[in-house]
């Protein structure tokens, strides 16, 4: 399908524009053609031209104008870009349908009709006036209907509270005020679900009791932070963007990254992002079209668009990818889309101040548009077949160049003393950021100067817009001029919105009219929390029924099932599209080994250039375990994430955790699971002395489709943020030398295959998990591993997770060019396939020099076999090989699954 790019240039009446001269800007004649007339022929098939809507500014426009001015073409007043697609095959109507589905976002773009006369390219449009909305006298049913029709999605109790407030203040609310209340009180912003269960404070209370000496900031700021070395602090935040990513994956994922990166920029007085992750849970992308629930996008589209969007956003941001992880579960009709951001900030700037009366509220970054209206409220509701249509506006558009500019400028502003406080504009836009920052003081802002990319925006839309790439800074008044000069140098737009006050009110003005006047206490303290009924769920679990392999053919089949499973398979087809080494801080990226293709399951950064002290991060995410036992899953995710870092050589006394939950919409049984999960990890964190410092919950993982309810599996991703004195001492999993012994250190129970990849490859889940470590036992295990590491006993190592021993042995061989012989006669009772494929979370696979087995005497361990020179894997029993294969042929199976999905 040919794609042509059209530039429409508009000059002012007086000006002259020399198009010839502009050509060097628009095309490179060495590989591009240009013409003033279309080269497409309508006879070959329908032509569809996509352009931004008249009210909307093209992101490229400023670049074109700047380039034109540099070339001396000052007569150019405006420029627009559009794309013309020629479809070969489909009829006109079908072509337009395809374009609407795949080629443009109708919130900001449209089809430009042939022959359309252009009178101006400048954004035009007229906003609606401000309205008052009275809830007086409305009954319950009417309140609920109104809440739904206006996309507030506020429960009845909140509607009644607003109704009562109207009565008390003696005037109806403006549309802007109700919009602010609805979004500020949404589950997304206010965590009403967690509050009703008493969970919001549970983890932070555990962290407070641990009182860890390294914790600098936990659960208060936009991210959590721990002491690094040399007066630096490192931070972590994980943020999900499940709803937008489900209905418009490209925009949803791009802004997932943009948003969580701004949490780093908005930490303390402004952090700097040094690493990111993308963690996706979808339905199986190989699903036949007919099995995709009505109203949901095909998971293949979600996965491939998410990869494209992650590359589109994080590469230009110049932030190395730490963990690209893709998982599947049939419950992810509403997908799971998590991103992390890890940051670096000087210790002295790690705690923000409260704004003081008189401080300037300075809006910086991009222009405000219609994108992302109702993101917070729509995210907090479930998803139905109609959501895709109705709430498309909730999806934001991301422009990484805009965010990149203030990413460079913020540390300069901070170091110049221009930042009293800083936060990002995310859910709820200006109203949320200003309202939160001014919660202790009050704030008065005007909207007239807000730079708009859409002229038809009305007041409440400007206030609520979730247009990306914007931050709010509280600037001491005497520093305003300096701040503005810095922002000008870095080409960052800035607007003084107003000032912080001392009247504890949120006041907003627009065209001379006061459109919001709310006491901040009502905004932040008056939200009614509905009581939640909790009831133990009834799970329908069946024991596994999987025949144990006996013949070489059956063993080969079993190994291939596991290595080729989506969760174990090579995901470099996605990973190699993300920059893993930018910033020059990467000591160990997500892919390593001799061929740089072996998954490391680690990311190690040396953030202070020239030094070798490091930050280590790991993640644990398993969508299968939660189906069997959510609380055990939660515990296992903590143990898995920490064990991954400990095996690599990181001390668990020097790390902190980040949690990200994704659970179905609240029902009594869901509440039960959620409560158990949170209590379990809070208790375990206290037992281990490893604190959670940051987290996020999403309780909207339910889709209603064609009368069927699809719930996400109870999901918790735990990530580790730790520090290590020397990145050069990190241990990786690739085998080091033929003749070395391969040892399983820790506990093993080959009978427990529940929730494993192996079981899933048979379409089974099982009824029990391997859950062998309590807090005391796992600390003993980690202490033993750390001692072994200090003594230099093991040369390579990896923590057991999905795919069990087999996946690790394969990867360690593949990454080293060596092979392994594994003896299935080890002295552990139970299934032989269970030994190979069991997921003994907490245990580790280690490579030790021959003769050093005695150092393991105090630790439970099993010698499994040895590293061999030849690149093949051999399983033996009773001294006889029962199966063997070359790593290269196994690698072919391992690398095919995911590649076929995304390419």
């Amino acid at each position: 399908m040919p794609i042509h790019t059209i530039y429409t240039l508009y000059k002012d009446d007086a000006g002259e524009v020399n198009v010839e001269r502009l050509l060097s800007l628009l095309v490179n004649p060495l590989y591009q053609d240009s013409s003033e007339r279309t080269q497409l022929d309508p006879a070959r098939g329908p032509i569809v031209e996509i352009a931004y809507r008249p009210a909307v500014t093209d992101p490229e426009t400023p670049s074109i104008l700047a380039g034109a001015r540099a070339l001396g073409e000052n007569g150019l007043e405006f420029a627009r870009l559009s794309r013309r697609y020629q479809f070969v095959g489909p009829e006109e109507a079908e072509a337009r349908k395809l374009a609407a589905r795949f080629l443009y976002n109708r919130i900001v773009e449209r089809v430009r009709e042939p022959g359309e006369v252009v009178t101006t390219l400048r954004p035009t449009g007229t906003p609606d006036p401000v309205h008052s909305i009275s809830l007086a006298g409305l009954g319950d049913k009417e309140l609920e209907e109104l809440s739904h029709a206006r996309s507030w999605y506020a429960p009845l109790s909140q509607m009644k509270a607003i109704q009562g407030h109207e009565l008390a203040q003696g005037r109806p609310h403006t549309d802007a005020e109700i919009e602010i209340l609805a979004q500020s009180w949404s589950d997304h912003c206010f965590h009403t679900t967690w509050k009703s269960l008493g969970l919001l404070k549970r983890l932070s209370a555990a962290t407070a009791r641990i009182n860890h000496p390294l914790v600098v900031s936990s659960f208060k700021d936009n991210a959590g932070g721990i002491e690094f070395y040399e007066d630096w602090v490192v931070t972590i935040k994980g943020e999900t963007h499940n709803f937008p990513s489900s209905i418009a994956p490209f925009g949803g994922i791009a802004t997932k990254h943009g948003g969580v990166i701004r949490d780093t920029l908005g930490f303390g007085k402004g952090g700097y992002p040094i690493g990111g992750s993308t963690i996706m849970g979808t339905m199986d992308p190989r699903l036949p079209d007919a099995d995709v629930p009505a109203g949901a996008l095909h998971p293949q589209l979600i996965v491939s668009e998410s990869i494209r969007a992650t590359a589109y956003y994080t590469n230009p941001m110049g932030i190395p990818m730490m963990h690209p992880v893709y998982r599947i579960h049939p419950g992810y009709a509403k997908c799971f889309a998590l991103g992390h951001s890890v940051g670096l900030i000087p210790r002295q700037y790690a705690i923000k101040e409260e704004p003081r009366p008189g401080d300037v509220a300075l809006l910086i970054g991009g222009e405000t548009g219609r994108d992302g209206i109702h993101g917070a409220t729509a995210s907090s509701t479930g998803m139905t077949g109609e959501t895709l249509e109705k709430e498309f506006a909730a999806v934001q558009i991301g422009h990484p160049i805009t965010e990149r500019k203030f990413t460079s400028a913020i540390p300069v502003l901070r170091d110049a003393g221009c930042v009293r406080s800083i936060t990002d504009l995310g859910a709820g836009g200006i109203s949320c950021a200003a309202g939160e920052m001014g919660a202790e003081t009050g704030v008065r802002v005007g909207l007239d100067q807000v730079p708009l990319k859409d002229r038809s925006l009305t007041a409440w839309e400007i206030l609520l817009s979730e247009s990306q790439e914007r931050m709010l800074v509280a600037v001491p008044p005497e520093k305003l001029a300096e701040a503005q000069a810095i922002l000008d140098r870095y080409e960052v737009l800035h607007t003084a919105l107003g000032r912080f006050t001392d009247n504890k009110r949120l006041e907003v003005f627009w065209h001379g009219q006061k459109i919001v006047d709310l006491e901040v206490s009502f905004l932040w303290e008056a939200c009614p929390i509905d009581a939640t009924v909790v009831a133990e769920p009834r799970r329908e679990l069946a024991p596994l029924n999987i025949p144990e392999p006996t013949t070489p053919g059956e063993w080969g089949e079993a190994v291939r099932r596991v290595l080729g499973h989506y969760h174990c398979a090579d995901q470099q087809a996605a990973g190699s599209r993300f920059d893993t080494t930018v910033q020059g801080r990467t000591a160990l990226g997500p892919f390593g080994g001799r061929n740089h293709r072996m998954p490391t399951n680690l990311y190690v950064s040396a953030p202070l250039r020239g030094k070798t002290c490091g930050v280590i991060t790991t993640v644990a995410f398993n969508p299968f375990y939660g189906e069997i036992d959510p609380a055990a899953m939660a515990r296992l995710m903590m143990i898995e994430a920490i064990t991954k870092a400990v095996v690599a050589g990181a001390d668990y006394h020097e790390m902190a955790l980040c949690d990200n939950f994704y659970t179905p919409r609240l029902r009594p049984d869901v509440a039960w699971d959620l409560k158990r999960m949170v209590e379990t990890i809070a208790d375990l964190s206290e037992q281990l002395g490893v604190p959670f410092i940051s987290g996020k919950d999403s309780s909207s993982g339910t889709m209603e489709s064609a009368g069927r309810r699809i719930d996400v599996p109870p999901t918790l991703v735990v990530s580790v943020l730790g520090r290590v004195p020397d990145v050069k001492k990190i241990v990786t999993k690739d085998f080091k030398r033929a003749g070395n012994k391969i040892v399983l250190v820790g506990r093993a129970d080959p009978q427990q295959l529940g929730g494993s990849v192996y079981a899933d490859s048979y379409g089974q889940r099982g009824d029990r998990l391997f859950d062998a470590y309590d807090g005391v036992a796992i600390r003993e295990q980690w202490d033993a591993l750390l001692r072994l590491r200090r003594e230099g006993v093991y040369l390579s190592g990896s923590a057991i997770a999905e795919g069990g021993l087999m996946l690790r042995i394969f990867e360690a061989s593949f990454g080293s060019g060596l092979g392994a012989r594994i003896d299935l006669d080890v002295s552990v009772a139970g299934r032989r396939d269970g030994l190979l494929f069991g997921e003994f979370i907490g245990s580790a696979l280690l490579e030790i020099a021959p003769g050093s087995e005695s150092s393991l005497s105090k630790v439970p361990h099993y010698v499994l076999g040895e590293v061999i020179e030849e690149p093949r894997l051999i399983l033996t029993e009773g001294g006889r090989a029962i199966w063997q294969d070359f790593t290269s042929s196994l690698a072919a199976v391992w690398s095919r699954t995911f590649r076929e999905v995304v390419e």
């Binding site: 800007l25 490179n28 700047a66 590359a311 110049g318 190699s576 930018v582 020059g584 020239g610 490091g614």
Partner: protein, 244 residues
């Protein structure tokens, strides 16, 4: 006498300037981060520097073409300073997006601002490629690779538009780096050759051997924590040259 300083030119969207500065410093040199805006507004001058590096990133979002707006601005607004810089035989390094800027500006390979003779176009895979590559040094006469000919250097590469298209009629372009396989031979095989570069070209110089452009990132293979230190050799050559 003031120490020779390398200007690291960066613009909105550039994102490898700090590590490029770190690599130059580790090689024993001195560098200064110079914002293109400051050059345009007269707060900084190229004349004050003895060498220049244009680092990687996505300058101006790579709108209209990778490196194009940066290059257009350099050529149209800073032509005099640029020509003086070239005429004084001062070295210039372009890494990744910086290489794209130098070719879009006509500085590489022809040293003629405004006259393009080489382009870096979309990778053959049509995707961004993040890889670790081996580079066979094939040119002795380039200042940046003096004494390294025949060596294989390991460093990361990460770009979406890095496939060279050379359209210099007559004079052949001096190729400095070629993507190499595990045996150190130039290769067309993906992913050792990550972008489908014809003749495995990864980096080129100009007629003087003072201007170097390459897609891979030597600054990401220069510091002690990084997996390779091979990139440092390129920066060390610059510092030696500046000291002589």
């Amino acid at each position: 006498m003031s120490e020779a300083t390398t200007a690291i030119l960066y613009a909105p969207g550039t994102n490898c300037h700090e590590e490029t500065a770190a690599a130059i410093e580790r090689a024993g040199g001195k560098s200064a981060l110079v914002l293109l805006r400051d050059l345009l507004d007269g707060r900084a001058r190229l004349d004050d520097y003895q060498a220049a590096a244009v680092p990687g990133g996505f300058s101006y979002g790579d709108h209209l073409g990778a490196g194009r707006i940066f290059a257009t601005t350099l050529v149209a607004k800073l032509r005099d300073q640029l020509v003086r810089f070239l005429d004084s035989q001062k070295p210039i390094l372009g890494i990744c997006n910086g290489f794209q800027v130098l070719t879009e500006a006509g500085i590489l390979p022809g040293r003629t601002p405004g006259k393009r003779s080489m382009a870096l176009i979309e990778n053959q895979s049509a995707r961004f490629e993040d890889r670790k590559v081996r580079l066979l040094v094939s040119e002795e006469s380039c200042m940046w690779t003096g004494g390294l000919a025949g060596q294989v250097l390991e460093m990361p590469t990460a770009h979406g538009e890095g496939r060279p298209l050379i359209c210099e009629p007559g004079s052949p372009v001096p190729v400095v780096f070629r993507y190499a396989d595990a045996e150190g031979r130039p290769t067309l095989q993906y992913p050792d050759n990550p972008n489908g570069a014809p003749e495995a070209v990864a980096g080129v110089t100009d007629s003087t051997g003072l201007v170097l452009g390459l897609m891979p990132h030597p600054e990401r293979a220069s510091l002690p924590a990084q997996y390779s230190q091979d990139g440092l050799k390129i920066f060390q050559n610059l510092i030696r040259w500046l000291q002589d």
